[in-house]
């Protein structure tokens, strides 16, 4: 019984982490139709930034609970600086070109950022584990979890709800829907599409960095941590449907639970679980679980 409970709890915790790392990617794709490979380096930058900022905060002897604010601030800073840099400095010259070209551009940016990170922070690991342990642990039914993991679930729920609210209830969100549907017509109607693209990319960058910043206390921040995340985020986004927010949530949940079940009952299968689900979803419902049918023009 406790194994089943562990599967559910582990699954949900992992799903919330997956959602955090995938939501930025699906947002940018949904609006701009760009599959942003640099997403992985933004995640890594968020983690490194958080390690530096929170590390500085704690080394100065300030209140330990302030380190959480430092994590969030680092994510915001990284997103607000690097996001516009990439979008204004590079991507906006490429709109209108093939999707594949944009993907390769983001891949080139990813390579550049990986080395930039190495040149700034070096290859040694950064440990910023205090925020992880600060909230203590939660014990129930013979299982032990750090409270931090549950906080992560709350944060990812909050992010999801916030995004949904912005997209469906605010004016900007509705204009964004128009931009997604037809960029040219929206522009003709007077919507400042450039500004929406910039805002979306920056938001996606902040979300990626937030994923990294919140992960930093649970791991040692090392070079290459962004590479693994790209494929995972990718798989989640594909399963849920590219550009779909509830899809990303559902995709994360399915992958999280399946992986947890594999770990507890059939560890040998764990490696396959995510690609198998991805292939199955693509085979039977290629647009993903949530996205609508694709309409092709003749």
């Amino acid at each position: 019984m406790s194994a089943l409970l562990a599967v559910v709890v582990d699954g949900v915790i992992y799903a919330s982490w997956l959602f955090m790392i995938a939501v930025g990617l699906t947002l940018i794709y949904g609006v701009m139709k760009i599959l942003n490979i640099a997403h992985g380096s933004l995640y890594a930058l968020g983690a490194y930034g958080a390690a530096s900022l929170a590390g500085y905060w704690l080394s100065q002897g300030y209140a330990p609970f302030g380190s959480y604010a430092a994590l969030l601030a680092a994510a915001a800073l990284v997103g607000l600086i690097i996001g516009p840099l990439i979008e204004r400095g590079l991507l906006r010259f490429m709109y209108g070109r093939d999707e594949i070209i944009l993907l390769l551009v983001t891949y080139a940016v990813f390579l550049i950022l990986e080395d930039a990170i190495k040149l700034i922070w070096g290859v040694d690991p950064y440990i910023i584990s205090e925020p992880y342990g600060l909230l203590g642990i939660v014990e129930f039914a013979n299982l032990v979890y750090p409270t931090y993991s549950f906080m992560l679930i709350v944060v990812s729920l909050a992010v999801g709800v916030l995004l949904a609210w912005v997209l469906h209830r605010t004016r900007h969100g509705k204009l964004l829907a128009a931009v997604i549907h037809d960029r040219e017509v929206s522009q003709a109607m007077g919507v400042n599409v450039r500004r929406y693209y910039l805002a979306t990319f920056t938001a996606g960058a902040i979300l990626a960095a937030l994923g990294g910043a919140l992960t930093a206390p649970t791991v040692s921040v090392v070079p290459g941590m962004g590479v693994e995340v790209i494929v995972l985020a990718f798989a989640v986004v594909v399963i849920g449907g590219l550009g779909s927010l509830p899809g990303a949530a559902l995709g994360a949940l399915i992958v999280g639970l399946l992986r947890a079940a594999a770990v507890h009952y059939a560890p040998a299968l764990e490696l396959f679980s995510i690609y198998l689900v991805m292939a199955l979803v693509l085979a039977f419902r290629p647009q993903g679980l949530f996205a609508g049918e694709q309409v092709r023009t003749i």
Binding site: S2, A3, A6, V7, V9, D10, G11, I13, Y14, W17, E114, D115, K118, V123, D124, P125, I127, S129, Y132, G133, I137, N142, L143, V144, Y145, P146, S149, T215, T218, V219, S220, V221, V222, P223, G224, M225, V227, E228, R259, A260, V263, H264, P267, A268, E270, L271
Partner: protein, 423 residues
Amino acid sequence: MSKKLIVPVALSLAAIAASAQAQEAPPFKIGVVTFLSGAPAGPFGVPARNGAELVAEALNDGAMPAPYATKGFGGRPIELVFIDEAGGTTKQVSEYRNLVQRQNVDAVVGYISSGDCLAIAPVAEEMRKLTVFFDCGTPRIFEDASYKYVFRTGATGTMDSVAAAMYVKEIKPNATKIAGINQNYAWGHDSWNDFEAAIKALMPSVQIVTSQMPKFLAGQYGAEISALLTSGAEVVHSSFWGGDMEALVLQGAPRGLFSKSTVVLTTGETALPKLNTRVPEGTVIGARGPYGPFAPDNAINQWLVKSYEDRYNVRPTYPAYKMTQAILGIKAAYEKAQAANGGKTPNQDQIIASFEHLEFEGPGGTVRMALGKGHQAVLGTAYGTVKHENGQAVVTNVRYYPAEKVNPPEGVKSEDWVKTALK
């Protein structure tokens, strides 16, 4: 070449050769291949590179303690060229060829990844260039084939797993439930298979309650830690390294993984400088040989610790030891060949002949090239338990295992030896 030029060119070459004999021979160029980017860079590649730089400088200054006090290699200065081991085996084979053909190195030292070692060995034979593997762990190199130009101055990964099993038997002889968490790739598979076979041979009543194999570089081990905790394991074996190992410690310690069971980290020594007291007491640590805290107090070790700390402000970890060992091994072989050659510069075949079955001193003690027809080194190894003293993580309860106990004899494959010969 036109006939008119042949004689003057030949004469000039002869003159140059003669004067070269009279002066110092050109520097001995070593191509050093180790990870300078990616996940293995921090824990392994960069300490190895640092070690190489320190050794080269000290040798060229004549600042190494005896028996390595002569400058360079027998008076000849050594020069290092660094290549990043990242990028995959195809790339590494390409770069190896460049080192030999374009950069004209006299020897290549390096390779942490077993896949790279396996790929490079036949290329070294094809290109007839002295190549010394300093770290990779797979026993397959000299068990599957014989090589003339390839040497390995570090012991194989089998030694780590077998010694870990022996240490577990010594400190927890009554344990019955064993679990493992290893990375899902060749290193993790081999380490776990060796450990499982060894522990079953040494403690036949044990039961493997779970073997977790998360994806290499996964970084998030919440579910795996839950599985380990619910399995009731008393001993958990892990060959995790680098960021994965650190993540396991950071995520597992608050949840009681390290208090409910004894966790054995076979490459744990590399984490001690950074994680320090975050590694809980009672954790079993290995250094893949007699390195770091397990190193003997000889002059070379003292030199390494002092110069590394002076320059890098941190204690040297085992990759630095193993790289030092490799370069000193070549020096020992070179100078032995030089002596046998009457003091003249030895050629590569002579160096190779001297290197075979050589015994030389390193920062970890005596290294004997005893397996693989004289090309594969054997050393003993050690394991210890972490204790916190004055805010530092130190190792206590150290047990040493001599080379013969933890390495197979010549001609016997490691996987067969582990299953049958350990009792």
